[in-house]
Symmetry: D3
Subunit: 305 residues, 6 copies
């Protein structure tokens, strides 16, 4: 192919791709000068969060009793300032996507100022929840240790286990979800999904002492409600069976459509539990089964062969 021939292709393709007809559904223009949320900064938020929750395990510092408070102070300050920029970015994105309805009466500068104020407010509320988040994550570490004979000590679980990496992110994301932060919670859980193979929607509600063994392939849907002391194995789906469409044929958003697991439920590998059904307290779901109806408390379901 001659240089000239390539330049023709180059010029034609560039023009074609720059034409609104080509990009219209796939294009994001910044709202004001606020950029999109950044995967790099969100990754730092995750690392700061792990460093704060599990002092000495994550983060670069040589922590001891004297220096711990200094390190926490600096990490929390960084976490807060990163959260402010990212929540503001999420609000800007959301306003853009949703037609700026919430912002219609404002001019550009006032919008940016208002979004900054909202972001600072929500970030501060998130910071306020850190001690409770650490308390609940402690129960998850205990559950992972008690549930795995191969675990040698809490330290091994905090250092290596995918379930703890996942739950730290999920519990952070769920807190942001409750604060009506757009986009960020979902980006966070997808980052952890990629790292661990566990896909928990930030909208799901999960009790204490929760654990997942191995974890690859686990899916927990947006409207799941999970009690305390629940244990899942790898490949478990807590999904929707079907969902109603609106008059345009689009799925109706926000309807409860995922299972409820009461306290003390165990679900073995590759089981699929689908729809707004209830798995009763203490029930056991065997591996590789397909469950679409309520299971009574204490029952045990296994695959026929």
């Amino acid at each position: 192919m001659s240089v000239k021939a390539f330049e023709n292709i180059f010029t034609r393709v560039t023009e074609e791709l720059a034409h609104p007809n080509s990009y219209k559904a796939l294009y994001h223009e910044r709202n004001g000068s606020v950029p999109l949320p950044s995967n790099e900064v969100l990754q730092q938020i995750v690392e700061l969060g792990r460093s704060i929750i599990f002092p000495g395990y994550y983060g670069r510092s040589c922590i001891n009793a004297t220096t711990l408070e200094y390190r926490l102070g600096v990490d929390i300050e960084h976490l807060y300032s990163h959260l402010v920029t990212q929540i503001q970015a999420g609000l800007a994105f959301s306003g853009f996507e949703e037609g700026l309805a919430a912002f219609a009466a404002y001019n550009k500068m006032t919008i940016n100022a208002e979004m900054l104020r909202m972001a600072e407010d929500r970030a501060a509320k998130f910071i306020e929840r850190l001690p409770e988040l650490r308390r609940v994550l402690t129960t998850d570490v205990v559950a992972a240790f008690n549930g795995d004979p191969a675990a040698k000590n809490y330290g091994e679980i905090i250092s290596c286990y995918p379930v703890i990496k996942e739950l730290t992110v999920y519990r952070f994301a769920h807190e942001l979800w409750k604060l009506d932060v757009p986009l960020i919670p979902r980006m966070l859980t997808e980052m952890a999904h990629s790292e661990t193979g566990i896909d928990i929607h930030p909208g799901a509600t999960i009790g204490e002492y929760f654990t997942i063994d191995h974890g690859t392939g686990v899916v927990i849907g947006e409207t799941c409600i999970i009690g305390n002391n629940v244990k899942l194995y790898q490949g478990v789906t807590l999904g929707a069976k079907s969902f109603p469409l609106d008059n345009d044929g689009n799925p109706i958003k926000g309807i409860p459509r995922h299972p409820i697991l009461e306290d003390d439920v165990v679900v073995y590998s590759n089981a699929s539990i689908l729809g707004r059904i209830t798995i009763g307290k203490g029930a056991t779901i065997g591996g590789n089964v397909w469950v679409t109806q309520d299971v009574p408390a204490g029952a045990s379901i296994t695959q026929k062969r």
Copy 2:
């Protein structure tokens, strides 16, 4: 262990590992001075591709109507030049592995020049396909949105959903596969496999409006043919049941051995569909089932319990 004792081990092990008897099956010597394809450059190719297809979502730029064309021009130029080096590297690798049969008549410099010419030609043809690739990926975004009640808008899908990350890479890799580019297509899909848990062979043929929910554990084999409007859930295998061996006991390459899914098929989580069978138009395959025979159009298969 004394320093002397370690030095003995060190010297002995180094010599042993440097002996051709040790490394012969596992060793790659560069063909000419052309290095192997680089995972780092392939990662940049993926990022440039995402940045071109979804302007404003990926890439560092603050894009608007005025600057979009400049940004596209620069990204396409970069994509082209990276493709040239990587396709050339793939050709050099392939020549090496396959005994340089195609190149036997040439001397070293002529080979490099010829491979460069071939690489420029195929890279230009790939660039020419970008507008069509964007058009098809738009249908995938629409399918993902329509298939998930938890999705708030196209932007969320483009930013976070593993299926879109995977399909962007798969559709690029499939295009390179059709251009007879060696090794690169497979490296690209394995990179996306690691990121998303979805393993689509670049040789598979997939129609428009295709989506995969959650995705972890999905496998789509080399000779699959998938129609339009197909939806898969996590853990679905579209695999081979068995494969004939040649007289040396090695598998025969290239025989159709994976399923055909016609338009409008849905396959639920963890189902395994194996062999060159056909799942008819509009059929539904339930979760956790094992299917090795044709399924008629419109049928519904579910696990017995």
Copy 3:
């Protein structure tokens, strides 16, 4: 929220998180001045290992017959020195977690010196095993090639296949496990688990010519014993069915509780094989089945529908 209000939250949260009541189960203080094992250095260990085993495929060098030995010498020296620091870190961590029982009689400087001596000793023993590790990994490359009609040549398998990435790490980690190195083996296999979706416990025993197709979701437990020529597909679990608790209700560590797979066994996708059962030589386990009892040699188990 006023600046003052946020500063109150900030100060209160920092104090609360710095209080021993909050962090006590989740806190790691360095033993001596030895830091925790580092994921970054472990990643370099993995890359050096791949570069040594598969010369020319990994690593930055332009290797040929003249320069191969120099490159191997430098890589082995780096591998050794990284192993020394990481094994020492693992020993320090382990001593801390386990109450320093083994070190009770020593003062701090002597402990560090003794741990360094132990680390140098074990790292040297690991280096000594490299030629044997390469020999066994060669059989794994052969098995992957013979088991996949889509594979074009050994080079493609070494460059892209997740099973080879995983097995290189697993076989390294298993060697360190046998040398009683704490924590590191588990960190290594979890890194490979995140990369490939395959979770092999470093304690598992696996024969030669082993392969896993696709791999996402595979779990192989700590006390598994796997013979030669075994092949697994994606989503296979070789897990524990249940485990006895001690008087405090904690799982008893170290009891054999995972399956034994004899030579020539094949297990298809998403099958779960649980408990200390034996799958006899040459048996075939179909996809999506749930097996909790011995399977005789040569038998074939498939899902009922």
Copy 4:
């Protein structure tokens, strides 16, 4: 020293350094949430500027006639957006240091908005000057080439010569200085001073076809005025001789106190020219001399020995 003894030092020193008495003259608190100008971003501004002025010499792109405009568009957009953040940072810094007099009537959000507007305005005016800046820098390249028998071609001068690196930065900084941008111009020229050893104050006025040979140790003061076709050698000082103090004994700012060099002046190595004197058109100042009085046009001053 015992651990306890060090912890005492650590705690005491930290408290002492955190006490306002210790840090008061040396402390910068952000004005609003605007950070200080960033050396890293300023470095990028310099690199973008060089890439725009000298296309093909700097920057990562493979530029040709077809792609040059795309690359320029992207670089100019980046330059503009970096300038906006840095000018805003400079304004915020300046407001803080100067008691916010200019901003006294505003609340915090309005100040940020107003500073952003001012920054956008000045950055745009700077962008408008780029073609003129390139035109003048072309004359400097010509002067450097004509003044050095060792130079082989313009390309060598653009690639390597410190004078061109310095003048590109100085001419950018001087333009920002004329736009009343605080702090940034000075930071830019100090960065170039560190790189080249040439210290030109951004306030100095310098004509066309200006060159400096070698350059290390050259100093050109804030109120210098330099005509066209002037050439300096290394180590030349164009400085102030003395400066009047105000009633508090502080130097009075902004008084003309540096030399005027008319067209066609040459100053040889290590000469010092001090005070508001005039070196007449075409004069030559020999090396290592100390000049504090007017020199007539065409004269030649040399060191006595």
Copy 5:
């Protein structure tokens, strides 16, 4: 040149350079396993030092009254731990170079432990000096501001002026010099020399309110003694005139051989003051002069023309 011919060169040159005859004077073998001091870590020490002395100007943090102490605590802890590793490295280097005389009675592990103890001790003593270092550097900022009519405020001086960059490093290095730390002080001042063009030997003694204008080319020798309120201009040398040789013809180390400048001395650009002479209180040395004899208090020396 044929491949074979190059391989011959390669092999021959490698062997020749690896022969002790070739490298013996230029080779450093690590003492124990302690590496050489690291320019990268020393650079971090400089940055931490600047961040501690000038809070808010350097370092990444968004500092305010609430968070300043946390940030200082973390920075001081980092500074201490980097100093410990680098001082230990300096001691190991020095022991090696000086024949390990001081360590002759020890075995390797005891030496490492003893050097660590010495390093911890000296690093702690350095930390203890930080408040005094900040106090003296405050006087240098004041002197720079009072001495330059072009300076707008302290912030500009702290952000940009080479003299402050240099003096921060020199005053740190001088403190380490007084603590008998080998090699590191010299490495630090050479790093600052490269950055600023100012070369101050860490052994020089310099009073308060010291400043250097512009600075490129200034040299201040090892045994200089400089009073308070002294000001130098660029290119000034405070050097040795000659130095006595020992019987082997080598210079005798440590003899006072550089000038003494009493309080309130000013030295203009490119002046050279050489030998153990005294420049009396309040004297002024004009530019470009060469001074090798005592100058009385209050005198003024200028170049003849």
Copy 6:
């Protein structure tokens, strides 16, 4: 300024800068697809060179007698391959600038192949000179040590002294200069000029046991010839006095115009020696003098006052 107004500026400026009239003297288009020499790769060449010449001082490795040869082999291989790409880039640049006269008869691919062959040839010849380069640099280390009473040992000189950093680069660059490598030698010495403040033209000829004390501001011109045992102090210029112009008024290239310094000459700080004059064996030139005529052997020149 409205968004619209800025977009107008942006579009107009981009078009203006993309017009050939604007960029013609300042534009570099790649010759073939060969990029310009890269400062980053040249920096790596410098670091590899320092690592090879001074084993154990530079480079990341923990070198001892066993591993030194491996490390040298790898470093020399890297150095060679970087030199090949950079020399090829220099040849491509030079061909472009000089009108491709040397290449007029070739087509593009043949040119690239021919330039590669030339680059491989010259790089191999450079590698062959490494042992001699190390031998001469050893004499420079000795001279620096003998000339500075402040130096404690060779190690300090190799680690910190700017003269050794500079001379390593100069002696490499001079070797490339003798091999007729275009552009690269000059880029290398300008990199060292920026680092050390010492500006030695790669064309200068310099004998053994050469040293420069402190060094900032030293200039050594293209046609200088310097004997053995010569010592310079900071700020010394060995420059041209004037140079003849050709009929077009451009300086005539390549005429000897810089001084000859015979063996054992010492030049003190800030002296300027200009023109093709000879400073006789053993002469001493005092500081701050201006010399434009021959100085007889053994003479001593000092500044009058």
